[in-house]
């Protein structure tokens, strides 16, 4: 027996002594970008999902096409905690270049499956190693030459299936879904999987405690990414013009529109499109087209990420002051500048709230899960048209591009709100029309759409100062009157927005405020804190301007931690601006390095902040 084998034996002995760990682990697959491991990883995630086990699949990919390391993290957790974990329990090491580093991120006593061509490192005697003779297994399966590398990824799926006791039928059904029922593709991959599984059965005695077990499954739940949900939400919101310019991580949102629209929104008789999706020449044009379309009365949107948002700022101000409805999705990535283009962040809160020069106050919706992406996807249009203003939806790479278990999408329960639009008959009855005249006292002045067949209908839309008839004016009183009305209108937006979600524990003096994709990490951290005797209440912001509920929540607690993934605590700053009298109650906790928030960090951040507070 070699030294390392002895060590392994010892480690294995320890593991055997442990109780089995069922449906609770984090698995990292380390590969090389472009090697086609995505199919394998998705098959695993889907199989877990179909076994009824809460799961999340996160792809950590480099900003290049091929050849750089890529990690896919799968977390299964019976309690439903599927936030990111910094240390993995299981590692599938397929990338020679990162093997040593990857091992560093494996927790003490973890498990490592590796391509047996990689040299087993001697410095982790605690790890249970499972070498896989990848080349031999692929040779045996003998796939067509051009598919060898691709099929090779199925070998680790097979070994995992055996070692973790994944239901083989669920793997097959996952591949069936992936390949849209193409039996030859399924068969080819299953051949590799079965072969590897049977090899593992004969050659890899189980020495680790991890396995999965079927759970009662909620048949309603979905496994889906946020961008897909967003696109479907927009379609059910009746999007008619969507203009966009490719950018990670937002591209798949527009691409999903292109995928579903022909099927869902073609005229049944003529087969012609009731929508237009335009790939613009840049983000200036993308938002310009949306503004043009929104002005004319279409449900118009664009989707982008940070660099695109920066370019869109001038038009955002025009749409705001000229009161043109548009919807803008910002799937955030790490900035400033090109930053970390394939890593997640929540760094666009402040820029979106105030995007453009002069005074602007934009309306933001902030979903935290795919089902909310769907809901806000359609609601955004109602809000934009009702309040005649740009509505931003703030997603991020983690939510947008990764696989989440989601509640089902709820079919819109209200009719579309097309806002105050005057027809020719309305104009006839009114006998007079001023585009920016507040008739109802709510600050929302009815508009007319170009093409309305009435001599009173026309007005001139402009970013320059205007009176209530939309006529150019530099008069101070006209400017004041318009801004007074506009700000009154924006006050009314507040109550029409999705309310915050509040979750409480008994006798909690400590509050946590967060938003967006950090939700699972916060929920999990709260349990750890509660285990330590610290009860917390949690408010999740879902829209800006803030609801009064947020103010009450801050009032009610001795201290409120605002947890977010940006460096300067942008939401924290906004809350302080809104309620300066409460500012000292708010404590900012931030983490911003491109990695999705995890519960351990959050737990520790709150715990130590509390410790400090009580020392004072």
């Amino acid at each position: 027996m070699s030294k390392s084998q002895v060590k392994q034996k010892e480690a294995a002995g320890e593991a055997e002594a442990q109780r089995p760990i069922v449906n609770d682990f984090t698995l990292v697959v380390a590969t090389v970008n472009g090697s086609g491991s995505q199919t394998s990883n998705l098959a695993l995630v889907r199989a877990f999902f179909r076994m009824g086990i809460p799961v999340c699949g996160k792809n950590l990919f480099p900003s290049n096409i091929q050849g750089l390391p890529t990690w896919y993290t799968i977390r299964v957790n019976a309690k439903g905690y599927t936030a990111n974990k910094l240390k993995a329990d299981l590692l599938v090491a397929m990338n020679m270049a990162t093997f040593r580093d990857d091992l560093q991120d494996l927790k003490q006593g973890g498990v490592c499956f590796y391509d047996d061509r990689l040299a087993e490192p001697a410095d982790r005697p605690d790890v249970i190693f499972y070498p896989i003779p990848l080349r031999d297994l692929v040779n045996e399966a003998d796939p067509p030459k051009q598919l060898r590398e691709y099929v090779a990824n199925m070998a680790y799926v097979g070994v995992l299936t055996e070692i973790l006791q994944i239901d083989n039928e669920e793997i097959r059904s996952a591949l069936d879904t992936h390949f849209g029922g193409r039996e030859t593709s399924v068969a080819l991959n299953m051949k590799m999987i079965d072969l590897a599984a049977s090899w593992a059965r004969d050659n890899l005695p189980k020495r680790d405690p991890y396995r999965v077990e079927r759970m009662p499954r909620d048949e309603e739940h979905l496994l889906v990414d946020g961008n897909t949900a967003a696109a479907l939400g927009a379609i059910y919101g009746g999007v008619t013009v969507a203009s966009w310019y490719p950018i990670t991580p937002a591209s798949s949102l527009a691409e999903t529109l292109e995928y579903y629209l022909p099927h869902l929104r073609s005229d049944p008789e003529t087969g012609k499109a009731t929508y237009a999706v335009v790939q613009a020449e840049d983000e200036l044009a993308a938002i310009g087209m949306a503004v043009g379309a929104g002005w004319v009365g279409a449900r118009a949107m664009t989707s982008t990420s940070g660099p695109g948002i920066s370019l869109m700022s001038e038009f955002a101000g025009l749409a705001f002051i000229a009161e043109i409805p548009i919807v803008i999705w910002d799937v955030q990535r790490m900035g400033p500048s090109t930053g970390l283009p394939t890593r997640t962040s929540q760094g666009d809160v402040l820029i979106l709230r105030f995007l453009s020069h002069g005074d602007t106050r934009h309306t933001l919706l902030i979903p935290a899960a795919p089902h909310e992406c769907f809901e806000f996807g359609w609601r955004a249009f109602d809000l934009a048209e009702r309040f005649q203003t740009p509505v931003f939806v703030l997603s991020d790479l983690d939510l947008g591009m990764n696989q989440w278990v989601s509640k089902p999408f709820q079919y819109p329960d209200v009719d579309m709100d097309r806002g105050k639009v005057l027809s020719a008959e309305d104009l006839e009855k009114l006998g007079d029309f001023g585009r920016y005249r507040d008739i109802d006292g709510d600050g929302i002045a009815p508009r007319t759409l170009p093409g309305t067949d009435h001599p009173l209908a026309a007005f001139f839309t402009r970013g320059t100062g205007h009176d209530e008839r939309a006529i150019y004016s530099e008069k101070a009183q006209d400017w004041d009157a318009n801004i007074e009305r506009l700000w009154r209108k924006l006050e009314n937006v507040r109550d029409a927005l999705p309310a915050p979600v509040v979750q409480r524990m008994d006798h909690a003096d400590v509050g946590i405020i967060a938003f967006g994709s950090t939700d699972p990490a916060i929920l999990e951290a709260r349990e750890y804190l509660s285990d330590e005797g610290l009860a917390t209440d949690y408010l999740r912001i879902r829209a800006i301007p803030f609801s009064e509920t947020v103010e009450d929540f801050i009032q009610e607690h001795e201290v409120v931690y605002v947890v977010e993934m940006n460096t300067d605590g942008q939401m924290h700053q906004l809350l302080q601006l809104e309620w300066p009298a409460l500012a000292t109650k708010l404590v900012s906790l931030t983490k911003n390095n491109g990695v999705p928030l995890d519960a351990d960090w959050t737990f520790e951040a709150v715990r130590s902040a509390e410790e400090q507070r009580h020392e004072r």
Binding site: Y260, L264, T274, G288, M289, E314, P450, G451, T461
Partner: protein, 305 residues
């Protein structure tokens, strides 16, 4: 605007859009019963693209300046033509930035002097040449000192079904009207060289002109109206793109302001037809056409289970 009146285009069905500049203010001064949109500097084409795709029944007239089009907006200008968005795109070309008080624009002559700026060292951009390169199907140049031609070209452009570019040399009397400037009034008067005598004829009119055979070229536009080009000294073939480029090159070298229809190609698909849109304007579609069924959503969700 006389042209629209003569064409009996209903003003309610017209949108007038522009960027920013003195020129871009012109839409405020005509057709008060049409919706207008003074957008942001150089980005009028994207507004036009969005508006015209959202309501295909609108007639779009864009007015821009040479700064608005040839400098800040050159990208959007090119892409507008690339998509062949149906609209008339008028450039009031004066070779300077009027509104910001007299800086050089990208169409200013090389070697030209301006009070504030000194001598312009750079070659000008020829917007008609850019339009030709971008495969624009209607390229015309005219001169503000020749209102009759402007009007006939405008009427023709309004009856063209794709992007029609009309580059009108329009002197800025405040900042760029010295005799030696190719954008000045006097230079235009002296150097204008009409390629032909343009007349637009509605479909129902007979042509009443005394003409010798071979002297005129008649082109039928899509809506059956006709463009009649009466030959002058020069024999310019408006269907020949290469000849059009050559003409621009030669007349520029010879310091001649060639005006008239430079190029016409009616065989290009418009943006709306490429997008295969329903006939009813997208902006007028209501919930019944826009919100797919609950069953369809259930089917889609089944794929995620």
């Amino acid at each position: 605007m006389a042209a629209c009146y003569e064409l009996s285009i209903q003003p309610e069905n017209v949108i007038k859009i522009s960027g920013i500049g003195c020129s871009s203010k012109s839409p405020t001064y005509f057709m008060g019963r049409s919706h207008g949109f003074n957008a942001v500097h150089g980005r009028m084409p994207s507004i036009a693209t969005g508006a015209s795709i959202a309501n295909r029944s609108l007639k779009t007239i864009g007015v821009s300046g040479d700064g608005d089009t040839a400098s800040i907006g050159i990208g959007q200008f090119i892409h507008l033509m690339r998509r062949n968005v149906p609209m008339v795109y008028i450039i009031e070309n004066n070779g300077v930035y009027g509104l910001t008080k007299g800086q050089f624009s990208a169409t200013a002559d090389q070697g030209q002097k301006l009070k504030k700026m000194g001598v312009n060292p750079f070659m000008p951009i020829d917007l008609c040449m850019e339009a030709l390169i971008a495969n624009c199907g209607f390229v015309a140049r005219s001169f503000a000192g020749d209102p009759k031609q402007v009007k006939e070209l405008l009427k023709s452009a309004l009856n063209f079904q794709g992007t029609a570019v009309l580059d009108i040399i329009s002197p800025c009397v405040t900042f760029n009207n010295r005799d030696e400037s190719t954008k000045s009034y006097s230079w235009g008067i002296e150097h204008e060289y009409p390629l032909h005598d343009v007349t637009w004829v509605p479909s129902y009119d007979e042509i009443e002109m005394e003409i010798e055979p071979g002297e005129i070229v008649e082109v039928e536009l899509h809506n059956k109206s006709r463009l009649v080009l009466k030959k002058l000294e020069h024999n310019h073939d408006t269907s020949d793109r290469l000849a059009a480029m050559q003409l621009l090159e030669e007349t520029c070298c010879a310091e001649i302001l060639a005006t008239g229809l430079i190029y016409l190609n009616q065989n290009q698909e418009t943006f709306q037809s490429v997008e295969n849109l329903v006939d009813k304007p997208l902006a007028r579609l209501q919930q019944d056409a826009l919100r797919p069924s609950k069953e369809a959503l259930e089917e889609i969700m089944a794929d995620f289970r």
